[in-house]
Structures are given as structure tokens and as C-alpha cells.
């Protein structure tokens, strides 16, 4: 539109200005438009009737009108809002932005500062991290019990892997690759239904089919004590919280055992009606997550354990439609829990255990046998059964699949993470134990990678 032609007509009313311009043959389009208007024909398919449009007025408002004083009659609500936003974003004269002189205290570093900055610089290289598709190493695991409800693999903080094969617990030292036998239980007591390293990496709890739990010292190969009376049926899940060993049984009970004292049963959590197959303490030791064959996921509060209320649980979560075995507390977000459901459910769900809200649910298409968070990156690893028997690496929180690791030929029942967090061991019903460098290579990261708060003493094991 020609502004020059319009400047002379701005003072006149809009109706007359159209006429003025109709005799001004500068622009073809306008000429046509007037012709059509005069002939009362609308041949334009796209704008059937231009007569309702007021070009002069529009132009005036866009150019001259804005320069002059604001006419209150012309302002519309949307225009007001736009101007307001514009003024706000340009911070024009309306607002004053204030902040306190005294700043809030800076949070205490969970991670030493120098490490966190180098960690930051490492980020670009980590983005191109290569994830090996094959297992780095495969070990034979004959007689591994193919039972979804057991927990037969654990990797301790002293870098020793424990695996129960039938009635025997074997120890595999990851630093030198040597294997040793810890214990073989009698056939009437076995098979072994769970193993779990104490946080010190020296003591190990062994759950048995006969409802007992044994405590062993791995350095002297000596049994320290047996915990009896907590359960009536096999003990398929174990979890340590300092000196408290929590045991979950086929009888649906969860028992807190104080391993230091003679009458070791200190608390019992009742809620599950069927076998407890998943049991994990949060890093802070305040919350316990338990999953059962009754499709329920409970979150228990440590502080509420001793209170004798009817409902001891903090949350009772019914969203899974199959047994809940895979549980993993997020190492970088204290109140975030991931849980995986069995073959009828196939979902990984994320929970805010502070509110009990389900934050996300992802259908994986296959039974979820176990879950592990990457301690060094925002990633989650899940292990699956039929049909692919794969390990899947997910980016969190977007849940984009980063890798699918295949190799196992039967469901991947158990997973354990090395103390440095980089290597994952997986044991499957195909009776193999495989090691994957799925969480990155230690040499790529800084020497002392930021540790999860879960292991306050793990740095001691590092110095050797």
C-alpha cells in the first residue's frame, strides 16, 4: 500500500477515503477491487467480500494513529493486553524490579566443587558417548533358579559380586576376576532365594527357602548368625538400611531386623497379601519401597515404623496390574521412585513418593524384571523378558530409548550395578551372567565421579 497516497486522506473519514483512492490508479490490485465492488461481483475465491474491509483505517491505525495520542475509543482488550505485555517485556517505566540485598545461603555442595565443574566440562563429550551393543564379558551361571520373585544377584561396595546358583552362593571378585564359594546350604533348607550385601561390602545376607536368613562374613567365610522367626515362608527380597536388614517374605510380611541385637525383629510392616518380591530403601534411609505379587507398591516411612497405627504405610499404590518386582530410587532426586510391572503390566512408572503421585508411565511392551538408575547420568536401565529379553536404556525424563542391548536368550531376571556405577551385571534365565558397560566408561568420566549419597563410605573402598 502506498503511504504517500494516503497521507492526504487521513483526515477525512474512512468512507470518503475509499472513494479518494478508487480514483487513484497506482496499484493494480486496488483497481480490481474497486471494479468488482462497483459491479457487485465477488470473483475472489479467498476473500469473498472486501467491501467490509477498511484499508485506510487499518493503515492509519498502524502508522499515524499509533504515533498520536491514544484514543480511548479505539483500544480493544486484546490491544491493551498486547501493549501491556510489550511494556512489561521491555520493562518500560511501569515496573521496578527489586531483589533482596542479602542473598539466600548457597546450598552446601553435595559434590566437591572442583569435581562438579570438570563434570560440567565433560558434558559435550558425554553426549557422544558410545554405548557398546554387546556384553563385555559373559560368565556361565548354571542352575540359576528361573524365578521372577527371587533376588539372586548383588554387587557389593567392595567390588565383589554375589550370585546364588541353586543352593550355593558364589562370590566373583570384579577387581581380579577370581571366583570363590561362600556357602552351600543343605537341600532341605535351600534353594537360596535372595542375597544382599551390607553397605560395608563385607557382610552378606542370604535368604533361604526355609524362611530363615543367614548373615555371613565374606572375608572369613564364616556364618555370623541366623535370623529366624520373621517369616513363615521363603524370603525372596532383602534390603539394608545401615544396621537394619529388611526382609520380605512369601508370606507378605516385611520385617526390619536389627542385626546387632539378640531379638532382631524390631518392626513388621503389614500390607502385602502375597509374596514380597521387590524391596528397596531410599538413599536417605527414610523411605522403603516394597512391591508384591498382589500388584501393589507400598511406600513405608522409617519414622512411622514403630507407631502402632492401623495403616503404617505412607502410600499404597495400586496402578500396576501385575507383580511389582523392579524398584529403583533415583540417585539425583530423593523422592523419585521408578517401578516396573510384570508380564501383565509391562509398564515403568515414576512416583513422587512425597505426594504419592504417579508422574509418568511408559509401556515397555515386555515384563520389567529389574531397573537401575545411572549414577552418573540422567538415565534408567530396565531389563526385560519375552520377547526380546533385552536391556533398555532410557533417557530421563524424556524416556527416549537410547539403546537396546540384546544377547540374553531368556528373560533377564536380575541386574546389579558396580560400585563405580559404570558396569552392569545381568543374570538371566538362560543361565548366563553378562557384564555391560552401558553407563559409560570410567576413564571417560572424571576419576572420582560424583557419588550418589546412597553410599556414604564408598570412597573408602576406592582408596586401595
Amino acid at each position: 500500500m502506498d503511504a504517500g497516497s494516503l497521507s492526504c486522506s487521513t483526515s477525512s473519514s474512512s468512507a470518503t477515503s475509499i472513494k479518494t483512492r478508487s480514483r487513484f490508479p497506482l496499484q493494480e490490485q486496488h483497481h480490481h477491487f474497486i471494479q468488482r465492488k462497483n459491479s457487485k461481483e465477488n470473483l475472489d475465491r479467498f476473500i469473498p467480500n472486501r467491501s467490509a474491509m477498511d484499508f485506510d483505517y487499518a493503515h492509519y491505525m498502524l502508522t499515524e494513529g499509533a504515533k498520536g495520542k491514544e484514543n480511548p475509543a479505539l483500544s480493544s482488550p486484546s490491544r491493551d493486553a498486547y501493549r501491556k505485555q510489550l511494556a512489561e517485556s521491555l520493562n518500560m517505566n511501569r515496573t521496578r524490579i527489586l531483589a533482596f540485598k542479602n542473598k539466600p545461603p548457597t546450598p552446601v555442595d553435595l559434590i566437591p566443587h572442583d569435581i562438579s565443574t570438570t563434570h560440567h566440562q565433560d558434558k559435550p563429550t558425554k553426549l557422544k558417548r558410545y554405548i557398546p551393543q554387546n556384553s563385555e564379558r559373559t560368565l556361565d551361571a548354571p542352575d540359576l533358579v528361573d524365578d521372577y520373585y527371587l533376588n539372586l544377584l548383588d554387587w557389593g561396595s567392595a567390588n565383589v559380586l554375589a550370585i546364588a546358583l541353586g543352593s550355593t552362593v558364589y562370590l566373583w571378585d570384579a577387581t581380579n576376576g577370581s571366583t570363590s564359594e561362600l556357602v552351600t546350604v543343605d537341600d532341605e533348607n535351600g534353594p537360596i532365594t535372595s542375597v544382599s550385601w551390607a553397605p560395608d561390602g563385607r557382610h552378606i545376607a542370604v535368604g533361604l527357602n526355609n524362611s530363615e536368613v543367614e548373615l555371613w562374613d565374606s572375608t572369613s567365610n564364616r556364618k555370623l548368625r541366623s535370623l529366624r522367626g520373621g517369616h513363615r515362608q521363603r524370603v525372596g527380597s532383602l534390603a539394608w538400611n545401615n544396621h537394619i536388614l529388611t526382609t520380605g517374605g512369601m508370606d507378605g510380611r516385611i520385617v526390619n531386623n536389627d542385626v546387632r541385637i539378640r531379638s532382631h525383629i524390631v518392626e513388621t510392616y503389614r500390607g502385602h497379601e502375597q509374596e514380597v518380591c521387590g524391596l528397596k530403601w531410599s538413599a536417605s534411609g527414610q523411605q522403603l519401597a516394597s512391591g508384591g505379587n498382589d500388584n501393589l507398591l507400598y511406600v513405608w516411612d522409617r519414622a512411622a515404623a514403630s507407631s502402632n497405627t492401623a495403616t503404617q504405610w505412607l502410600h499404597r499404590l495400586e496402578d500396576h496390574t501385575s507383580a511389582v518386582k523392579a524398584l529403583a530410587w533415583c540417585p539425583f532426586q530423593g523422592n523419585l521412585l521408578a517401578s516396573g510391572g510384570g508380564s501383565g503390566d509391562r509398564c515403568i512408572k515414576f512416583w513422587n513418593t512425597h505426594t504419592g503421585a504417579c508422574l509418568n508411565s511408559v509401556d515397555t511392551g515386555s515384563q520389567v524384571c529389574s531397573l537401575l538408575w545411572n549414577k552418573n547420568e540422567r538415565e534408567l536401565l530396565s531389563s526385560h523378558g519375552f520377547t526380546q529379553n533385552q536391556l533398555t536404556l532410557w533417557k530421563y525424563p524424556s524416556m527416549v530409548k537410547m539403546a537396546e542391548l540384546t544377547g540374553h536368550t531368556s528373560r533377564v531376571l536380575y541386574m546389579a550395578q558396580s560400585p563405580d556405577g559404570f558396569t552392569v551385571a545381568s543374570a538371566a534365565a538362560d543361565e548366563t551372567l553378562r557384564f555391560w558397560n552401558v553407563f559409560g566408561a570410567p576413564e571417560a568420566a572424571t576419576k572420582a565421579a560424583p557419588k550418589a549419597r546412597a553410599e556414604p563410605f564408598s570412597h573408602l573402598n576406592r582408596i586401595r
Binding site: P104, T106, G334, H354, T355, L359
Partner: protein, 207 residues
């Protein structure tokens, strides 16, 4: 009985200012907890808005927020507060990673003429509850804060506000090309609060 119920639902400027500043105190605590700015051990659980809420036990943060909300009520009662922004920045680089924006619209008539409005406490609480739930669940979509962070609070006030002794003028600490998510609003009929979180794009997800 009827008159008593009615009188309960009347909301004054002072009451509205108290609700808004209290809301901001809880919201700030919740953000600091859920975004992991301070360690989770430094928070304790309380019941508020029909939800379990977390409040910091850290004396420094506690007094910072207490001083802040006291000043905010003063401005709210004068109708001079336009917006509060909680900014989360990288501790190492000072880069702004998240801005929690609480825009406030004040009913001018109430401020000028001292009239009151009607709205039940219950309804306001329900609206606030929805926002608090959204803050708690924001961790699902917000990019993870990989590094140690600090926070600051900006108050946008009218220009005719005298700057209090303990305050200084600040820049808006904007994020270039941010992602934005609008949360629920609540309205006391005197102050309307719109919540919006803007955050830095996560480079990883863009690829």
C-alpha cells in the same frame, strides 16, 4: 447461620494479601525442595492446603523467605506488587536455568475504596492445591538440574514504590529463548495469581 456462613466468605484486602504471600512462601519452599536446590534432609513435612508440604529447616533460607513474604504482604496490601519471580541459577556460572513467574493482578477498586469481596476459603484452597500439585509434578518435564544451583527472588513493583532499605534494583534475569509451561491460577477476587515456569531448553532432547 446463614449470615455466619456469608461473613466467613468475605475477603478483605489484608486477608487476600496474607493468602497470596503465604502461598508464595509455600510455593518457594516446594520449588526449592522439588528442584533439589537444597538437600532434601533440610526439609520437614507439614500439612497445608490439604497436601503434605515441605518446609525448609535451614535457618538462612527460612529467614530469607520469612523476610520476603513479610515485605510482599506489605506491597500486596498497597496493591503495588505486579509479579514475583523465583529464579534458579547455576552456582558456578550464574546462568539462569529456571524462572518461576507469579504474576499478580490486583483489583484496583478494592485498594482505592477499601471494599471487600466474597469467595470461600475452601475454593481458594482448592485452587492453590492444584498449583502445588503441579509444582510437585513439574520434575517430570523440567530438565534436570545437573549442577549445584542457587536461587533468588525478584519482585516487580510499581515505580512509585520506595525501595526498602534491604532491597536493591535488579535486572530481570531473563532466559534467552526459553520453554514455557503455564500452570493453574488462583484468584482471591482481589488478587489473581498466574503461575508460569520458563526454563532453558535441554540440549539433549533437541537432538
Amino acid at each position: 447461620m446463614a449470615s455466619r456462613t456469608a461473613s466467613k466468605d468475605i475477603i478483605t484486602l489484608r486477608g487476600s494479601a496474607a493468602i497470596v504471600s503465604e502461598f508464595f512462601g509455600y510455593a518457594a519452599n516446594s520449588i526449592l525442595y522439588n528442584r533439589g536446590v537444597y538437600p532434601e534432609e533440610s526439609f520437614v513435612k507439614v500439612k497445608k492446603y490439604g497436601l503434605p508440604m515441605l518446609l525448609t529447616e535451614d535457618q538462612g533460607v527460612k529467614s530469607f523467605i520469612a523476610n520476603l513474604t513479610a515485605q510482599l504482604s506489605e506491597w500486596l496490601e498497597a496493591g503495588k506488587l505486579q509479579r514475583i519471580v523465583l529464579v534458579i541459577m547455576s552456582k558456578a556460572t550464574g546462568e539462569v536455568l529456571e524462572r518461576w513467574n507469579f504474576s499478580i493482578e490486583t483489583d484496583g477498586e478494592v485498594v482505592e475504596q477499601g471494599v471487600s469481596r466474597e469467595k470461600s476459603d475452601k475454593e481458594i484452597m482448592r485452587e492453590i492445591q492444584a498449583i502445588m500439585r503441579q509444582i510437585a509434578s513439574s520434575i517430570t518435564y523440567l530438565p534436570c538440574l545437573d549442577e549445584p544451583c542457587v536461587f533468588d527472588v525478584l519482585a516487580y513493583t510499581d515505580t512509585d514504590v520506595a525501595v526498602p532499605f534491604t532491597w536493591i534494583e535488579s535486572d530481570p534475569k531473563l532466559i534467552a529463548n526459553p520453554q514455557m509451561v503455564k500452570l493453574h491460577s488462583f484468584d482471591t477476587k482481589i488478587h489473581k495469581v498466574d503461575t508460569l515456569v520458563s526454563y532453558k531448553n535441554d540440549e539433549w532432547d533437541e537432538e
